[in-house]
C-alpha cells in the first residue's frame, strides 16, 4: 500500500443528503414531534376516555372544578420546575404548605402586641405566610449553596423541620373558622379559596398569573437563561460569569413562595388549617414536572409541559373518582402513568441522539 496524498485542508460544505437518509431523518423528526407532544397527547386521551365513560366529566362546571384541584399542585409544580431546571429537587414543599396554612391560622386568631390583641388584615397575613415560605426556601438555598449540602438531603431535612415547626406552632391542632370576623376587620381570607372573580375560582387565576410570570421569567429574563445554563452545565455557566449561587438560591426561595401560596389556597378552601396539610405533595409536584418532560438532571423543561403534567395528574385522579374506580387502582394507575412518562422521555432522548447521528452520517456520505 502506498501513502496517500494530503486531503483538502478545509472541510467542504455539506453535500445534499441522499434521499433515503433524508427520509429516515424526516421519519425520526416526526416521531420526535409526537414525543414532544406526548404530555398533551396523554391529556387528550384522558379527556376523551373519561368524556366517553361519564356524562358528567366534560361539563363546564366539572372542568372548572377539576382545574381548581389542579391549581394547587400546579402552583407548587411551577416552583418545583425552577428547582428541577437548576438540577436540584425540593422535598420540603409539602411541609411548607402545612406551615404556611398554620401561620395563616395563627395570625388570623390574633397576635398580641404589647397586651393588645391585634388582628392583622388578610393581606398582611398573606404576605407574611408567603414570606415564611420564602424564608424556608432561603434556608434550603443557603444549605445548598453555602454549605454544599446535596439538595435532596437539605430539602429532606427541611421537610421535617418545616413540618415540625407547623406542629409546634399549632400544638398539633387544627385552626377552624378562618373566615375572620367583620368586627375585627380581618375577613376575606376564605375568598382565596372560594371567591370567583370573573366566574373562575381565585386559585385558577393564581395559577394563570404565576404561570404567565414563570413563562416571562424563563423565556425573557436574563435570570431564565442563567437558570437553564446553570442546570445544563454549572461549570460552563460559572465560567461565563453567571452568578450561579444567586440563581441556585433564588429557585428555592421561589419554590418556597409557591408552596406557601398553595398552603394559603388550601387553608382558605377549607377555612381551616391543619398542620399535617400537604403531606406527600412534593411527590405530586415532582411527578407533574417530570411528566411535563423536564429532566431531573437539570437544564431541560418548560412551564407549558409542567402545567400539562399537573393537568394529567389532576384530571386522572378526578376522572377515576367520577368513574368510581377503587382507591387502590387509582394509586396504581397514577404510578404507571408517571413511569410511562419517564420511559417516553428516555425514548425521546435516544431518538434525538439517533436522529443527530443519522443526519451526520447522511451528510458525510459523499463519494470518495
Amino acid at each position: 500500500m502506498s501513502s496517500q496524498g494530503t486531503t483538502t485542508a478545509r472541510v467542504a460544505p455539506d453535500p445534499p443528503q441522499p434521499p433515503e437518509a433524508a427520509a429516515k431523518a424526516r421519519r425520526l423528526s416526526l416521531l420526535n414531534v409526537a414525543f414532544e407532544l406526548r404530555a398533551f397527547i396523554a391529556l387528550a386521551v384522558l379527556i376523551v376516555v373519561f368524556g366517553l365513560l361519564s356524562d358528567s366529566f366534560l361539563t363546564v362546571t366539572n372542568v372548572i372544578t377539576m382545574t381548581k384541584h389542579v391549581a394547587i399542585n400546579g402552583v407548587i409544580a411551577l416552583g418545583m420546575l425552577l428547582v428541577i431546571l437548576k438540577g436540584g429537587i425540593d422535598l420540603s414543599v409539602g411541609s411548607i404548605v402545612g406551615l404556611s396554612g398554620v401561620v395563616a391560622g395563627e395570625l388570623l386568631q390574633g397576635v398580641a402586641l404589647g397586651g393588645v390583641i391585634a388582628y392583622p388584615p388578610v393581606w398582611v397575613v398573606i404576605v407574611l405566610c408567603v414570606a415564611v415560605g420564602m424564608g424556608v426556601g432561603l434556608l434550603n438555598g443557603v444549605l445548598v449553596t453555602r454549605f454544599n449540602v446535596a439538595p435532596f438531603i437539605a430539602t429532606l431535612g427541611m421537610l421535617y423541620v418545616a413540618r415540625g415547626a407547623a406542629m409546634l406552632i399549632s400544638n398539633g391542632a387544627t385552626y377552624p373558622n378562618l373566615g375572620g370576623n367583620p368586627a375585627l376587620g380581618n375577613t376575606g381570607f376564605d375568598l382565596l379559596g372560594s371567591g370567583r372573580p370573573l366566574g373562575l375560582p381565585t386559585s385558577i387565576w393564581i395559577m394563570i398569573v404565576l404561570a404567565a410570570a414563570a413563562v416571562l421569567l424563563l423565556a425573557k429574563s436574563p435570570f431564565g437563561r442563567w437558570l437553564y445554563a446553570t442546570g445544563g452545565n454549572e461549570r460552563a455557566a460559572d465560567l461565563s460569569g453567571v452568578p450561579i449561587r444567586r440563581v441556585k438560591t433564588i429557585v428555592y426561595v421561589v419554590s418556597g413562595a409557591c408552596a406557601a401560596i398553595a398552603g394559603l389556597i388550601i387553608a382558605s378552601e377549607l377555612t381551616s388549617a391543619a398542620p399535617q396539610a400537604g403531606e406527600t405533595y412534593e411527590l405530586n409536584a415532582i411527578a407533574a414536572v417530570v411528566i411535563g418532560g423536564a429532566a431531573l438532571s437539570g437544564g431541560r423543561g418548560t412551564v407549558r409541559g409542567t402545567l400539562v403534567g399537573a393537568f394529567v395528574i389532576g384530571f386522572l385522579a378526578d376522572g377515576l373518582v367520577i368513574l368510581g374506580v377503587s382507591t387502590f387502582w387509582q394509586i396504581l394507575i397514577k404510578g404507571a402513568v408517571i413511569i410511562l412518562a419517564v420511559m417516553l422521555d428516555q425514548g425521546q432522548q435516544r431518538f434525538k441522539r439517533r436522529g443527530a447521528a443519522a443526519s451526520a452520517v447522511a451528510a458525510s456520505a459523499r463519494p470518495t
Binding site: S54, S56, T59, T61, N62, T65, M66, K68, H69, V103, E106, Q109, G110, V111, A112, L113, G114, G115, V116, I117, A118, L128, A131, V132, G135, V136, L138, L139, A162, A165, M167, L168, I169, S170, N171, G172, A173, T174, Y175, P176, N177, G193, S194, I266, E269, L270, T271, S272, A274, P275, Q276, A277, G278, E279, A317, D318, V321, I322, G324, T327
Partner: protein
C-alpha cells in the same frame, strides 16, 4: 386555658428558628379555644410512685394528644413520674420506645399500639421484663399478654351515628360514604358498622364510596368531584371527623351546606363546633380521655396490689354528640 403558654410565643420561637422570626414581633394574648385542654408541663410531677411510660401514635392527631395528655395528668395526679412519646405508627420505633421504658425500669406502660400483630412481640418483651402493659384505643391480636386492653367500641359507635344519620335522613335519599385509610382496621370496622344499620333501609342509596385517607383536603377534593357527578345528594357519612369537615367545606363551596346531612366519627373539638354551628348533624365521640384515665387507674392498682383489678378486654362505648348535647362535651370527653 389561661394558664397555657401562648401559641403566639411558640410561633415566634419557631419562626425565629427559621430565620424569619423578625417578621413577627409579638407574644402573649390571642385566645385559641380549640387548643388541647391540658398542656404538658415542662417538668414532670412527683417521683414517689416511679415511672409510667405513655406511648401513643403521633400527636398531630388531637385524639392521640388528648389521650396522652389525660393519661399523663392522671398519672402525675397519682404521684407518678411520666414519659410521653409517640411511635408515629412505626412498629420499629414502638419497639425501641418499649426497650427504653424497660431500661428505665418503668412501673407500667400505657400503650396505644402501632399494629395489632406487630405489637404483640414488643408487648410480650415488656411483660417478660416485668413491666405490665395497659393497652388503650387499639387491641392486639393476642390475649393474656397485656394486663388490660381498653378500647372504644368502634362498631357500636358506628351504629350509633348511622342510626342518628338514618333518622335525620327520614329513611331515604342519596348519600356518600367517605372511608378512612383502607389499610386501617378501624376504617373497615366503622364502614361495616354504618352498613349494618343503613342496609336495613332500602330507600337510602349509596351513590359514591371513596377513600379519603382520613385527610381533610383529600375529602374536600373528592367531595367536590362527587358533587360534579351529581348534586342529588342528601347525606354524607364519614369514617372520621376530619373527612366530614372536608366534605362540609366542599358542600359549602357548592352551596349545598344545610341541605345535606353530614355525620362523622371521633368527636373532635372541631367537629363538635361544626355540630353546634349546624354544619354537621352528629358525630360519635370516642372517650379517649376516659379510656386513658381508666388505664392509668388500673395501672396504679396493679402496681400497688400486684394483680389486675378488671378483666383484660374492656370496651368503652362511644357517645353520640348532636346539637342537643354538644355543649356537654370537651376534648374527647364529657365535661
Amino acid at each position: 386555658m389561661s394558664a397555657a403558654p401562648r401559641p403566639a410565643r411558640r410561633l415566634l420561637v419557631v419562626l425565629s428558628l427559621l430565620a424569619t422570626g423578625s417578621l413577627l414581633a409579638a407574644c402573649g394574648g390571642g385566645g385559641a379555644e380549640q387548643k388541647a385542654a391540658t398542656q404538658p408541663s415542662a417538668t414532670s410531677g412527683g417521683t414517689a410512685g416511679g415511672l409510667i411510660a405513655i406511648i401513643t401514635p403521633s400527636h398531630d392527631n388531637p385524639f392521640f394528644k388528648a389521650e396522652a395528655d389525660s393519661a399523663k395528668a392522671k398519672a402525675e395526679a397519682l404521684g407518678y413520674e411520666t414519659s410521653v412519646a409517640s411511635h408515629d405508627d412505626d412498629p420499629n420505633k414502638q419497639s425501641e420506645l418499649i426497650d427504653a421504658a424497660i431500661s428505665r425500669k418503668a412501673k407500667a406502660i400505657i400503650l396505644d399500639n402501632a399494629g395489632a400483630d406487630a405489637s404483640i412481640g414488643p408487648v410480650r418483651k415488656a411483660v417478660t421484663g416485668g413491666i405490665p402493659v395497659f393497652l388503650i384505643d387499639r387491641e392486639i391480636n393476642a390475649t393474656g399478654v397485656a394486663t388490660a386492653q381498653i378500647v372504644s367500641n368502634n362498631a357500636q359507635g358506628a351504629q350509633l351515628v348511622a342510626q342518628s344519620f338514618v333518622e335525620k335522613m327520614k329513611n331515604k335519599g342519596n348519600y356518600v360514604e367517605l372511608v378512612g385509610k383502607e389499610s386501617d382496621t378501624n376504617a373497615s370496622v366503622r364502614s361495616k358498622g354504618f352498613a349494618d344499620v343503613i342496609s336495613q333501609y332500602p330507600d337510602l342509596k349509596q351513590v359514591a364510596k371513596e377513600s379519603a385517607n382520613w385527610d381533610q383536603q383529600e375529602a374536600f377534593t373528592k367531595m367536590e368531584t362527587i358533587i360534579q357527578k351529581s348534586r342529588d345528594i342528601q347525606g354524607v357519612i364519614a369514617g372520621n371527623d376530619t373527612m366530614a369537615l372536608g366534605a362540609v367545606a366542599a358542600l359549602k363551596a357548592a352551596g349545598l351546606l344545610g341541605k345535606v346531612t353530614v355525620v362523622g366519627f371521633d368527636g373532635s373539638p372541631d367537629a363538635i363546633a361544626a355540630v353546634k354551628a349546624g354544619q354537621m348533624h352528629a358525630t360519635a365521640l370516642q372517650p379517649a380521655a376516659l379510656g386513658a384515665q381508666s388505664a392509668v387507674e388500673q395501672a396504679d392498682q396493679y402496681i400497688k396490689t400486684g394483680k389486675a383489678s378488671k378483666e383484660e378486654k374492656q370496651s368503652i362505648d362511644c357517645e353520640l354528640v348532636t346539637a342537643e348535647n354538644a355543649d356537654d362535651y370537651g376534648v374527647f370527653a364529657r365535661k
